[in-house]
Amino acid sequence: MADAPRYLGYELSIDPQDTASRDFFRFCREHQLHLQCCGSCSRLRYPPSPGCPFCGSDGYTWIPVDGSGVIHSYTEVHHAVSAPMKPFVPYVVAIVELANQRDDPAAGAAIRIPGNLVTADGNLNIGDLRWGIDSPVRIVFSDVSDEIAIPLWTPLEASRFIS
Protein backbone atom coordinates (compact mmCIF):
# COMPACT_ATOMS: atom_id res chain seq x y z
CA MET A 1 0.00 0.00 0.00
CA ALA A 2 1.27 3.44 -0.93
CA ASP A 3 2.14 5.99 1.72
CA ALA A 4 -0.77 8.10 2.87
CA PRO A 5 -1.01 11.34 0.87
CA ARG A 6 0.52 14.25 2.75
CA TYR A 7 0.09 17.97 2.32
CA LEU A 8 2.13 20.44 4.40
CA GLY A 9 2.60 17.70 6.96
CA TYR A 10 -1.08 16.87 7.15
CA GLU A 11 -2.11 13.33 6.34
CA LEU A 12 -5.13 13.35 4.04
CA SER A 13 -7.60 10.48 3.87
CA ILE A 14 -10.54 10.20 1.51
CA ASP A 15 -13.04 7.55 2.53
CA PRO A 16 -13.27 5.10 -0.43
CA GLN A 17 -17.05 5.24 -0.11
CA ASP A 18 -17.03 9.04 -0.41
CA THR A 19 -17.14 9.05 -4.20
CA ALA A 20 -18.05 12.73 -4.41
CA SER A 21 -14.90 13.80 -2.58
CA ARG A 22 -12.82 11.29 -4.52
CA ASP A 23 -14.06 12.73 -7.82
CA PHE A 24 -13.66 16.35 -6.73
CA PHE A 25 -10.01 15.89 -5.77
CA ARG A 26 -9.31 13.86 -8.93
CA PHE A 27 -10.55 16.78 -11.00
CA CYS A 28 -8.33 19.07 -8.92
CA ARG A 29 -5.42 16.77 -9.70
CA GLU A 30 -6.18 17.40 -13.39
CA HIS A 31 -6.02 21.08 -12.45
CA GLN A 32 -9.67 21.66 -13.23
CA LEU A 33 -12.33 22.99 -10.91
CA HIS A 34 -15.42 20.81 -11.25
CA LEU A 35 -18.55 21.26 -9.17
CA GLN A 36 -21.56 19.06 -8.71
CA CYS A 37 -24.55 20.23 -10.75
CA CYS A 38 -27.92 19.11 -9.40
CA GLY A 39 -29.85 16.84 -11.79
CA SER A 40 -33.11 18.38 -10.64
CA CYS A 41 -32.63 22.13 -10.06
CA SER A 42 -29.36 22.49 -12.02
CA ARG A 43 -27.70 24.48 -9.23
CA LEU A 44 -24.02 24.11 -8.46
CA ARG A 45 -22.83 23.31 -5.00
CA TYR A 46 -19.66 23.18 -2.95
CA PRO A 47 -18.27 21.35 -1.03
CA PRO A 48 -19.25 18.01 -2.55
CA SER A 49 -22.22 16.33 -0.91
CA PRO A 50 -24.57 13.43 -1.66
CA GLY A 51 -27.70 15.60 -1.79
CA CYS A 52 -28.59 19.03 -3.19
CA PRO A 53 -28.89 21.62 -0.40
CA PHE A 54 -31.23 23.67 -2.58
CA CYS A 55 -33.84 21.08 -3.58
CA GLY A 56 -32.96 17.83 -1.81
CA SER A 57 -32.36 15.81 -4.95
CA ASP A 58 -29.60 13.20 -4.93
CA GLY A 59 -28.83 13.12 -8.66
CA TYR A 60 -25.92 15.14 -10.02
CA THR A 61 -23.32 15.47 -12.72
CA TRP A 62 -19.89 17.10 -12.54
CA ILE A 63 -19.41 20.18 -14.67
CA PRO A 64 -16.29 22.24 -15.27
CA VAL A 65 -16.38 25.71 -13.74
CA ASP A 66 -14.20 28.70 -14.50
CA GLY A 67 -11.74 28.92 -11.65
CA SER A 68 -11.95 32.63 -11.15
CA GLY A 69 -13.72 34.71 -8.56
CA VAL A 70 -13.36 37.55 -6.12
CA ILE A 71 -12.34 37.64 -2.48
CA HIS A 72 -15.61 37.92 -0.56
CA SER A 73 -13.83 37.94 2.77
CA TYR A 74 -10.72 36.55 4.42
CA THR A 75 -8.74 36.21 7.59
CA GLU A 76 -5.01 36.54 8.04
CA VAL A 77 -4.05 33.85 10.53
CA HIS A 78 -1.28 34.79 12.95
CA HIS A 79 -1.85 32.00 15.45
CA ALA A 80 -1.75 28.56 13.81
CA VAL A 81 -3.27 25.95 16.08
CA SER A 82 -1.99 22.99 14.09
CA ALA A 83 1.71 22.23 13.90
CA PRO A 84 1.97 21.92 10.08
CA MET A 85 0.88 25.54 9.63
CA LYS A 86 3.13 27.12 12.23
CA PRO A 87 6.03 27.72 9.78
CA PHE A 88 3.71 29.68 7.49
CA VAL A 89 2.21 32.34 9.76
CA PRO A 90 0.86 34.76 8.92
CA TYR A 91 -1.08 33.02 6.17
CA VAL A 92 -4.36 34.01 4.57
CA VAL A 93 -7.59 32.05 4.23
CA ALA A 94 -9.85 33.70 1.66
CA ILE A 95 -13.52 33.06 0.99
CA VAL A 96 -13.69 33.23 -2.80
CA GLU A 97 -16.99 34.00 -4.47
CA LEU A 98 -17.67 32.66 -7.97
CA ALA A 99 -19.85 34.62 -10.39
CA ASN A 100 -21.87 31.58 -11.50
CA GLN A 101 -24.72 31.60 -9.04
CA ARG A 102 -24.76 34.96 -7.30
CA ASP A 103 -27.99 35.76 -5.39
CA ASP A 104 -29.39 32.34 -6.26
CA PRO A 105 -31.53 30.93 -4.66
CA ALA A 106 -31.72 33.91 -2.29
CA ALA A 107 -30.27 37.39 -2.02
CA GLY A 108 -26.76 37.24 -0.63
CA ALA A 109 -26.21 33.61 -1.63
CA ALA A 110 -23.33 32.57 -3.87
CA ILE A 111 -20.90 29.73 -4.42
CA ARG A 112 -18.12 30.61 -1.99
CA ILE A 113 -15.03 28.48 -1.73
CA PRO A 114 -12.53 28.88 1.11
CA GLY A 115 -8.85 28.36 0.48
CA ASN A 116 -5.44 29.82 1.12
CA LEU A 117 -4.31 32.85 -0.78
CA VAL A 118 -0.96 31.96 -2.37
CA THR A 119 1.53 33.22 -4.94
CA ALA A 120 1.02 32.04 -8.51
CA ASP A 121 3.38 29.16 -7.81
CA GLY A 122 1.55 28.12 -4.67
CA ASN A 123 3.62 29.73 -1.92
CA LEU A 124 1.68 30.50 1.26
CA ASN A 125 4.00 33.40 1.98
CA ILE A 126 2.36 36.01 -0.24
CA GLY A 127 4.67 38.79 0.89
CA ASP A 128 3.82 42.06 -0.75
CA LEU A 129 1.08 40.88 -3.10
CA ARG A 130 -1.67 43.45 -3.39
CA TRP A 131 -5.13 42.13 -2.58
CA GLY A 132 -8.20 42.70 -0.44
CA ILE A 133 -11.97 42.21 -0.34
CA ASP A 134 -13.32 42.24 -3.92
CA SER A 135 -9.88 41.51 -5.44
CA PRO A 136 -10.08 39.12 -8.40
CA VAL A 137 -8.36 35.78 -7.90
CA ARG A 138 -7.91 32.58 -9.87
CA ILE A 139 -7.56 29.01 -8.76
CA VAL A 140 -4.22 27.21 -8.61
CA PHE A 141 -3.61 23.65 -7.54
CA SER A 142 -1.02 22.11 -5.26
CA ASP A 143 -0.39 18.47 -6.20
CA VAL A 144 -0.45 16.02 -3.31
CA SER A 145 -0.63 12.57 -4.94
CA ASP A 146 -1.80 10.93 -8.17
CA GLU A 147 -5.36 11.31 -6.90
CA ILE A 148 -5.37 14.55 -4.97
CA ALA A 149 -4.51 18.20 -5.49
CA ILE A 150 -5.50 20.99 -3.11
CA PRO A 151 -7.31 24.00 -4.62
CA LEU A 152 -5.80 27.38 -3.67
CA TRP A 153 -6.26 30.95 -4.89
CA THR A 154 -3.90 33.57 -6.21
CA PRO A 155 -4.52 37.28 -6.84
CA LEU A 156 -4.92 37.97 -10.55
CA GLU A 157 -2.68 41.00 -10.62
CA ALA A 158 0.11 39.16 -8.89
CA SER A 159 2.81 41.12 -10.65
CA ARG A 160 1.88 44.32 -8.84
CA PHE A 161 3.68 44.93 -5.59
CA ILE A 162 2.95 47.51 -2.96
CA SER A 163 5.55 50.21 -3.45
Binding site: S73, V81, V93, A107
Partner: protein
Protein backbone atom coordinates in the same frame (compact mmCIF):
# COMPACT_ATOMS: atom_id res chain seq x y z
CA UNK B 1 -50.22 29.98 31.01
CA UNK B 2 -50.40 31.41 27.52
CA UNK B 3 -49.92 29.57 24.27
CA UNK B 4 -47.36 31.17 22.02
CA UNK B 5 -46.67 30.60 18.37
CA UNK B 6 -47.30 27.12 16.97
CA UNK B 7 -48.47 25.56 20.20
CA UNK B 8 -45.51 26.54 22.35
CA UNK B 9 -46.58 26.86 25.98
CA UNK B 10 -45.03 29.75 27.83
CA UNK B 11 -43.72 29.28 31.35
CA UNK B 12 -44.55 25.57 31.43
CA UNK B 13 -41.21 24.89 33.09
CA UNK B 14 -38.75 26.73 35.27
CA UNK B 15 -35.05 26.70 36.02
CA UNK B 16 -35.00 26.04 39.76
CA UNK B 17 -31.40 25.09 40.42
CA UNK B 18 -27.97 26.16 39.21
CA UNK B 19 -24.59 24.64 39.96
CA UNK B 20 -21.00 25.52 39.06
CA UNK B 21 -17.68 24.04 40.10
CA UNK B 22 -15.75 27.22 39.35
CA UNK B 23 -13.72 28.21 36.27
CA UNK B 24 -10.04 27.40 36.18
CA UNK B 25 -7.17 26.35 33.94
CA UNK B 26 -6.67 23.17 35.88
CA UNK B 27 -9.62 21.56 37.62
CA UNK B 28 -7.55 18.67 38.92
CA UNK B 29 -10.62 16.49 38.39
CA UNK B 30 -11.95 14.26 35.65
CA UNK B 31 -14.87 15.63 33.67
CA UNK B 32 -16.94 12.85 35.25
CA UNK B 33 -16.14 14.15 38.72
CA UNK B 34 -16.80 17.73 37.57
CA UNK B 35 -20.22 16.71 36.26
CA UNK B 36 -21.15 15.05 39.54
CA UNK B 37 -19.99 18.04 41.56
CA UNK B 38 -21.93 20.53 39.43
CA UNK B 39 -25.11 18.46 39.56
CA UNK B 40 -24.87 17.99 43.34
CA UNK B 41 -24.51 21.76 43.78
CA UNK B 42 -27.45 22.50 41.47
CA UNK B 43 -29.64 19.94 43.23
CA UNK B 44 -28.78 21.47 46.60
CA UNK B 45 -29.42 24.95 45.20
CA UNK B 46 -32.91 23.78 44.20
CA UNK B 47 -33.49 22.35 47.67
CA UNK B 48 -33.75 18.87 46.19
CA UNK B 49 -31.99 15.53 46.58
CA UNK B 50 -30.31 13.71 43.68
CA UNK B 51 -33.13 11.17 43.77
CA UNK B 52 -35.52 13.92 42.69
CA UNK B 53 -33.77 14.03 39.31
CA UNK B 54 -35.24 11.62 36.78
CA UNK B 55 -33.79 13.04 33.57
CA UNK B 56 -30.21 13.83 32.55
CA UNK B 57 -29.17 15.71 29.43
CA UNK B 58 -25.64 16.67 28.46
CA UNK B 59 -23.61 17.76 25.49
CA UNK B 60 -19.99 17.52 24.57
CA UNK B 61 -17.44 17.28 21.82
CA UNK B 62 -16.08 13.87 22.72
CA UNK B 63 -14.72 15.49 25.87
CA UNK B 64 -17.51 14.96 28.37
CA UNK B 65 -18.77 12.11 30.57
CA UNK B 66 -21.88 10.22 29.48
CA UNK B 67 -24.86 10.68 31.72
CA UNK B 68 -25.49 7.04 32.55
CA UNK B 69 -22.12 7.00 34.34
CA UNK B 70 -22.80 10.33 35.98
CA UNK B 71 -26.20 9.06 37.12
CA UNK B 72 -24.50 6.12 38.78
CA UNK B 73 -22.13 8.50 40.57
CA UNK B 74 -25.17 10.30 41.95
CA UNK B 75 -26.87 7.05 42.94
CA UNK B 76 -29.86 7.68 40.70
CA UNK B 77 -31.56 5.88 37.85
CA UNK B 78 -32.98 8.32 35.27
CA UNK B 79 -36.09 7.65 33.19
CA UNK B 80 -34.47 9.49 30.32
CA UNK B 81 -30.87 10.34 29.56
CA UNK B 82 -29.23 11.68 26.42
CA UNK B 83 -25.75 12.90 25.58
CA UNK B 84 -25.57 14.86 22.36
CA UNK B 85 -22.68 16.11 20.29
CA UNK B 86 -22.26 19.85 20.29
CA UNK B 87 -20.56 22.86 21.75
CA UNK B 88 -21.99 26.36 21.73
CA UNK B 89 -25.76 26.69 21.32
CA UNK B 90 -26.27 23.23 22.83
CA UNK B 91 -27.30 24.40 26.30
CA UNK B 92 -30.49 26.11 25.11
CA UNK B 93 -31.28 23.12 22.89
CA UNK B 94 -31.06 20.83 25.91
CA UNK B 95 -33.26 23.20 27.91
CA UNK B 96 -35.77 22.88 25.07
CA UNK B 97 -35.56 19.08 25.26
CA UNK B 98 -36.02 19.21 29.03
CA UNK B 99 -39.22 21.23 28.57
CA UNK B 100 -40.46 18.61 26.12
CA UNK B 101 -39.68 15.76 28.49
CA UNK B 102 -41.45 17.47 31.37
CA UNK B 103 -44.60 18.69 29.58
CA UNK B 104 -45.12 15.27 28.02
CA UNK B 105 -44.78 13.61 31.41
CA UNK B 106 -41.67 11.61 30.59
CA UNK B 107 -39.71 13.25 33.38
CA UNK B 108 -40.51 15.34 36.39
CA UNK B 109 -37.20 17.10 36.93
CA UNK B 110 -34.28 17.21 34.53
CA UNK B 111 -30.62 18.07 35.08
CA UNK B 112 -28.90 19.69 32.08
CA UNK B 113 -25.14 19.64 32.51
CA UNK B 114 -21.85 20.28 30.77
CA UNK B 115 -18.51 19.18 32.15
CA UNK B 116 -15.30 19.99 30.35
CA UNK B 117 -11.61 20.32 30.99
CA UNK B 118 -11.57 22.96 28.30
CA UNK B 119 -8.09 24.17 29.14
CA UNK B 120 -6.26 21.27 30.76
CA UNK B 121 -7.88 18.61 28.58
CA UNK B 122 -9.55 19.00 25.21
CA UNK B 123 -9.26 22.52 23.83
CA UNK B 124 -11.91 23.90 21.51
CA UNK B 125 -9.40 24.88 18.85
CA UNK B 126 -8.60 21.22 18.26
CA UNK B 127 -5.14 21.22 19.79
CA UNK B 128 -4.04 19.37 22.88
CA UNK B 129 -5.38 15.96 23.75
CA UNK B 130 -7.87 15.45 20.92
CA UNK B 131 -5.79 16.92 18.10
CA UNK B 132 -6.85 15.32 14.81
CA UNK B 133 -3.85 13.64 13.15
CA UNK B 134 -5.54 12.76 9.86
CA UNK B 135 -7.75 15.05 7.79
CA UNK B 136 -10.77 13.30 6.30
CA UNK B 137 -14.45 13.77 5.49
CA UNK B 138 -15.77 17.32 5.48
CA UNK B 139 -12.54 18.53 7.09
CA UNK B 140 -10.81 18.04 3.72
CA UNK B 141 -12.46 21.31 2.67
CA UNK B 142 -11.15 23.41 5.56
CA UNK B 143 -8.33 21.95 7.63
CA UNK B 144 -5.71 21.69 4.84
CA UNK B 145 -5.86 25.50 4.74
CA UNK B 146 -4.92 25.79 8.41
CA UNK B 147 -8.52 26.79 8.93
CA UNK B 148 -9.96 24.89 11.88
CA UNK B 149 -10.24 26.79 15.15
CA UNK B 150 -13.34 28.86 15.91
CA UNK B 151 -11.28 32.07 15.69
CA UNK B 152 -9.97 31.12 12.26
CA UNK B 153 -13.26 29.92 10.81
CA UNK B 154 -15.54 32.66 12.18
CA UNK B 155 -13.19 35.54 11.41
CA UNK B 156 -14.14 36.05 7.72
CA UNK B 157 -17.70 36.90 8.82
CA UNK B 158 -16.33 39.64 11.07
CA UNK B 159 -14.00 40.97 8.36
CA UNK B 160 -16.93 41.27 5.97
CA UNK B 161 -19.00 42.94 8.69
CA UNK B 162 -16.29 45.59 9.02
CA UNK B 163 -16.18 45.97 5.24
CA UNK B 164 -19.94 46.26 4.74
CA UNK B 165 -20.90 48.31 7.80
CA UNK B 166 -17.76 50.13 8.82
CA UNK B 167 -17.61 48.24 12.11
CA UNK B 168 -14.35 49.05 13.87
CA UNK B 169 -12.09 46.94 16.07
CA UNK B 170 -12.28 49.71 18.68
CA UNK B 171 -16.05 49.12 18.90
CA UNK B 172 -15.79 45.35 19.22
CA UNK B 173 -13.10 45.81 21.86
CA UNK B 174 -15.64 47.52 24.09
CA UNK B 175 -17.43 44.19 24.52
CA UNK B 176 -14.31 42.99 26.35
CA UNK B 177 -13.85 46.28 28.18
CA UNK B 178 -17.38 46.33 29.64
CA UNK B 179 -17.34 42.66 30.47
CA UNK B 180 -14.02 43.04 32.25
CA UNK B 181 -15.74 45.66 34.42
CA UNK B 182 -18.51 43.15 35.10
CA UNK B 183 -16.01 40.41 35.92
CA UNK B 184 -14.39 42.70 38.48
CA UNK B 185 -17.65 42.34 40.42
CA UNK B 186 -17.66 38.55 40.10
CA UNK B 187 -15.45 36.63 42.54
CA UNK B 188 -15.79 33.49 40.36
CA UNK B 189 -14.46 35.13 37.21
CA UNK B 190 -11.10 33.84 35.97
CA UNK B 191 -10.05 37.27 34.66
CA UNK B 192 -11.15 40.03 37.02
CA UNK B 193 -8.75 42.80 36.03
CA UNK B 194 -10.38 45.61 34.03
CA UNK B 195 -8.91 46.09 30.56
CA UNK B 196 -8.99 49.06 28.19
CA UNK B 197 -9.72 49.15 24.47
CA UNK B 198 -6.02 49.78 23.94
CA UNK B 199 -5.23 46.60 25.87
CA UNK B 200 -7.48 44.66 23.49
CA UNK B 201 -6.13 46.29 20.33
CA UNK B 202 -2.50 45.88 21.39
CA UNK B 203 -2.89 42.22 22.36
CA UNK B 204 -1.36 39.89 19.80
CA UNK B 205 -3.26 39.12 16.64
CA UNK B 206 -4.81 35.64 16.46
CA UNK B 207 -6.68 35.78 13.14
CA UNK B 208 -7.70 39.16 11.74
CA UNK B 209 -9.69 40.94 13.06
CA UNK B 210 -9.46 38.94 16.30
CA UNK B 211 -6.82 39.93 18.81
CA UNK B 212 -6.09 37.68 21.74
CA UNK B 213 -8.41 39.69 24.00
CA UNK B 214 -11.22 39.51 21.43
CA UNK B 215 -11.24 35.76 22.17
CA UNK B 216 -12.88 34.11 25.16
CA UNK B 217 -10.97 32.30 27.86
CA UNK B 218 -10.72 28.53 27.83
CA UNK B 219 -11.47 26.92 31.17
CA UNK B 220 -12.19 23.71 33.03
CA UNK B 221 -15.63 23.66 34.59
CA UNK B 222 -18.72 21.70 35.47
CA UNK B 223 -22.06 23.46 35.15
CA UNK B 224 -25.65 22.35 35.68
CA UNK B 225 -29.24 23.60 35.42
CA UNK B 226 -32.17 21.93 37.18
CA UNK B 227 -35.47 22.23 35.31
CA UNK B 228 -38.90 21.23 36.55
CA UNK B 229 -42.56 21.84 35.80
CA UNK B 230 -44.20 25.07 36.90
CA UNK B 231 -46.42 23.23 39.37
CA UNK B 232 -43.31 22.27 41.39
CA UNK B 233 -41.30 25.41 40.78
CA UNK B 234 -42.43 27.38 43.81
CA UNK B 235 -41.67 24.47 46.16
CA UNK B 236 -37.98 24.92 45.48
CA UNK B 237 -35.47 26.74 47.64
CA UNK B 238 -34.90 29.72 45.32
CA UNK B 239 -37.10 32.06 43.36
CA UNK B 240 -38.02 30.26 40.13
CA UNK B 241 -37.04 31.50 36.70
CA UNK B 242 -39.60 30.64 34.04
CA UNK B 243 -38.69 29.45 30.57
CA UNK B 244 -40.76 31.92 28.57
CA UNK B 245 -39.36 30.91 25.18
CA UNK B 246 -36.62 28.62 23.99
CA UNK B 247 -35.39 27.74 20.56
CA UNK B 248 -32.63 25.45 19.48
CA UNK B 249 -30.78 24.48 17.55
CA UNK B 250 -31.51 26.52 14.46
CA UNK B 251 -29.20 26.45 11.45
CA UNK B 252 -28.77 28.20 8.15
CA UNK B 253 -30.05 26.17 5.20
CA UNK B 254 -26.55 24.89 4.62
CA UNK B 255 -24.68 24.76 7.90
CA UNK B 256 -21.76 22.79 6.50
CA UNK B 257 -20.81 25.77 4.39
CA UNK B 258 -22.86 28.61 5.76
CA UNK B 259 -20.72 31.10 3.85
CA UNK B 260 -22.75 30.26 0.76
CA UNK B 261 -26.13 31.17 2.14
CA UNK B 262 -27.17 34.76 2.57
CA UNK B 263 -24.94 37.57 3.70
CA UNK B 264 -22.10 36.11 5.75
CA UNK B 265 -22.52 39.07 8.07
CA UNK B 266 -25.70 37.42 9.36
CA UNK B 267 -25.79 34.45 11.68
CA UNK B 268 -28.39 31.69 11.89
CA UNK B 269 -30.10 33.88 14.48
CA UNK B 270 -32.00 35.56 11.65
CA UNK B 271 -33.92 32.28 11.28
CA UNK B 272 -34.57 32.00 15.01
CA UNK B 273 -35.47 35.59 15.76
CA UNK B 274 -39.12 35.78 14.74
CA UNK B 275 -40.01 32.52 16.40
CA UNK B 276 -38.18 33.32 19.61
CA UNK B 277 -40.05 36.57 20.14
CA UNK B 278 -43.41 35.20 18.97
CA UNK B 279 -43.15 32.32 21.41
CA UNK B 280 -42.22 34.74 24.17
CA UNK B 281 -44.92 37.29 23.36
CA UNK B 282 -42.13 39.77 24.03
CA UNK B 283 -39.61 41.68 21.98
CA UNK B 284 -36.12 43.05 22.41
CA UNK B 285 -37.46 46.23 24.04
CA UNK B 286 -38.92 44.15 26.87
CA UNK B 287 -35.57 42.61 27.79
CA UNK B 288 -33.69 43.91 30.84
CA UNK B 289 -30.46 41.91 30.53
CA UNK B 290 -28.87 39.95 27.69
CA UNK B 291 -26.27 37.23 27.44
CA UNK B 292 -25.12 37.33 23.83
CA UNK B 293 -22.66 34.47 23.29
CA UNK B 294 -19.22 35.97 23.53
CA UNK B 295 -16.90 33.29 22.24
CA UNK B 296 -15.52 36.42 20.59
CA UNK B 297 -16.31 40.08 21.00
CA UNK B 298 -17.77 40.05 17.48
CA UNK B 299 -20.14 37.12 18.08
CA UNK B 300 -21.88 39.15 20.78
CA UNK B 301 -22.11 42.10 18.41
CA UNK B 302 -23.59 40.10 15.53
CA UNK B 303 -26.10 38.25 17.72
CA UNK B 304 -27.43 41.46 19.25
CA UNK B 305 -28.05 42.74 15.73
CA UNK B 306 -29.55 39.53 14.45
CA UNK B 307 -32.06 39.25 17.31
CA UNK B 308 -33.18 42.81 16.72
CA UNK B 309 -31.63 44.70 19.65
CA UNK B 310 -30.38 47.17 17.06
CA UNK B 311 -30.57 47.49 13.29
CA UNK B 312 -28.33 45.29 11.16
CA UNK B 313 -24.94 46.91 10.86
CA UNK B 314 -25.34 49.02 13.99
CA UNK B 315 -23.94 46.43 16.38
CA UNK B 316 -20.64 48.28 16.63
CA UNK B 317 -22.41 51.28 18.11
CA UNK B 318 -24.72 49.18 20.26
CA UNK B 319 -21.91 47.33 22.03
CA UNK B 320 -19.68 50.38 22.51
CA UNK B 321 -21.92 53.27 23.58
CA UNK B 322 -22.43 52.10 27.16
CA UNK B 323 -25.88 50.56 26.87
CA UNK B 324 -24.50 47.11 27.49
CA UNK B 325 -22.46 47.84 30.61
CA UNK B 326 -23.81 47.50 34.14
CA UNK B 327 -25.77 50.68 34.81
CA UNK B 328 -26.61 50.98 31.11
CA UNK B 329 -30.08 50.46 29.70
CA UNK B 330 -29.59 46.76 28.91
CA UNK B 331 -26.46 45.19 30.36
CA UNK B 332 -24.92 42.29 28.48
CA UNK B 333 -23.00 39.36 29.98
CA UNK B 334 -23.03 40.69 33.51
CA UNK B 335 -20.83 37.88 34.88
CA UNK B 336 -17.99 38.83 32.57
CA UNK B 337 -19.19 36.11 30.24
CA UNK B 338 -17.10 33.72 28.24
CA UNK B 339 -14.54 36.46 27.68
CA UNK B 340 -13.75 36.92 31.38
CA UNK B 341 -15.64 34.60 33.72
CA UNK B 342 -15.05 31.26 32.03
CA UNK B 343 -15.98 29.10 29.09
CA UNK B 344 -18.57 26.38 29.45
CA UNK B 345 -20.15 26.52 25.99
CA UNK B 346 -22.58 29.09 27.35
CA UNK B 347 -23.98 27.23 30.36
CA UNK B 348 -22.50 29.90 32.61
CA UNK B 349 -24.33 32.60 30.61
CA UNK B 350 -27.65 30.94 31.45
CA UNK B 351 -26.61 30.51 35.07
CA UNK B 352 -25.78 34.21 35.32
CA UNK B 353 -29.14 35.26 33.91
CA UNK B 354 -30.91 32.94 36.35
CA UNK B 355 -29.07 34.72 39.17
CA UNK B 356 -30.01 38.10 37.73
CA UNK B 357 -33.70 37.15 37.58
CA UNK B 358 -33.56 35.80 41.13
CA UNK B 359 -32.12 39.22 42.05
CA UNK B 360 -29.27 37.30 43.61
CA UNK B 361 -26.09 37.97 41.66
CA UNK B 362 -23.23 36.48 43.71
CA UNK B 363 -21.19 39.66 43.92
CA UNK B 364 -19.51 41.37 46.88
CA UNK B 365 -22.62 43.10 48.25
CA UNK B 366 -23.26 42.69 51.98
CA UNK B 367 -25.26 39.74 53.30
CA UNK B 368 -27.85 40.50 55.99
CA UNK B 369 -28.62 38.55 59.17
CA UNK B 370 -31.10 36.30 57.33
CA UNK B 371 -28.39 35.30 54.85
CA UNK B 372 -29.84 37.41 52.05
CA UNK B 373 -27.53 39.50 49.90
CA UNK B 374 -28.53 43.17 49.97
CA UNK B 375 -27.69 44.68 46.60
CA UNK B 376 -26.56 48.28 46.49
CA UNK B 377 -26.93 48.62 42.68
CA UNK B 378 -23.83 50.77 42.81
CA UNK B 379 -21.91 49.55 39.79
CA UNK B 380 -19.14 52.12 39.94
CA UNK B 381 -16.55 50.35 42.13
CA UNK B 382 -14.50 47.46 40.78
CA UNK B 383 -15.76 45.10 43.46
CA UNK B 384 -19.22 46.66 43.50
CA UNK B 385 -22.70 45.44 42.77
CA UNK B 386 -23.38 43.30 39.71
CA UNK B 387 -27.14 42.94 40.15
CA UNK B 388 -29.30 44.60 37.49
CA UNK B 389 -32.02 46.43 39.39
CA UNK B 390 -35.53 44.96 38.99
CA UNK B 391 -34.47 42.55 36.25
CA UNK B 392 -37.61 40.78 35.03
CA UNK B 393 -36.75 39.51 31.53
CA UNK B 394 -33.47 38.06 30.27
CA UNK B 395 -32.47 36.87 26.81
CA UNK B 396 -29.78 34.30 26.09
CA UNK B 397 -28.54 34.44 22.51
CA UNK B 398 -26.33 31.48 21.80
CA UNK B 399 -23.92 30.73 18.97
CA UNK B 400 -22.53 27.43 17.81
CA UNK B 401 -20.99 28.81 14.65
CA UNK B 402 -22.12 31.52 12.22
CA UNK B 403 -24.53 29.00 10.69
CA UNK B 404 -26.00 27.59 13.90
CA UNK B 405 -27.55 29.02 17.04
CA UNK B 406 -30.04 28.74 19.88
CA UNK B 407 -31.78 31.22 22.14
CA UNK B 408 -34.03 31.54 25.15
CA UNK B 409 -36.06 34.16 26.94
CA UNK B 410 -36.27 33.73 30.71
CA UNK B 411 -38.55 35.66 33.06
CA UNK B 412 -38.67 36.07 36.82
CA UNK B 413 -41.35 33.72 38.18
Amino acid sequence: MNAGASGWVRDACAIVGIGETGYSKSSGMTTRALAGAAIRRAVADAGMRPADIDGLLSHGMNDSPVSNLVAADLGIRPNFFMDCVGGGASAEALVALAVGLIVTGQCRTVAVYRAMNGFSGTRTGGTNRNAIPVISGQDLYSRPFGWSSPAQTFAPCFMRHMHDFGTRSEQAAMVRVFQSEHAAKNPKALYRAPVTADDVLSSRMIATPLHLLDCCVETDSGTCLIITGREHAHDCRCHPVMIRSVLGRVCKPRNDLHFEWGPITESAAVYAKDRLWAQAGLGPDDVDVTAAYDAFTYTSLMLLEDYGFCAKGEGGGYVSDGRTRLGGSRPNNTSGGLLCEGYSNGMNLIIENVRQLRHDADDGCPIDSTGRRVHTHDHSAAGGCRQVQDAEVAANLAWGNPGMGSASVLVRG
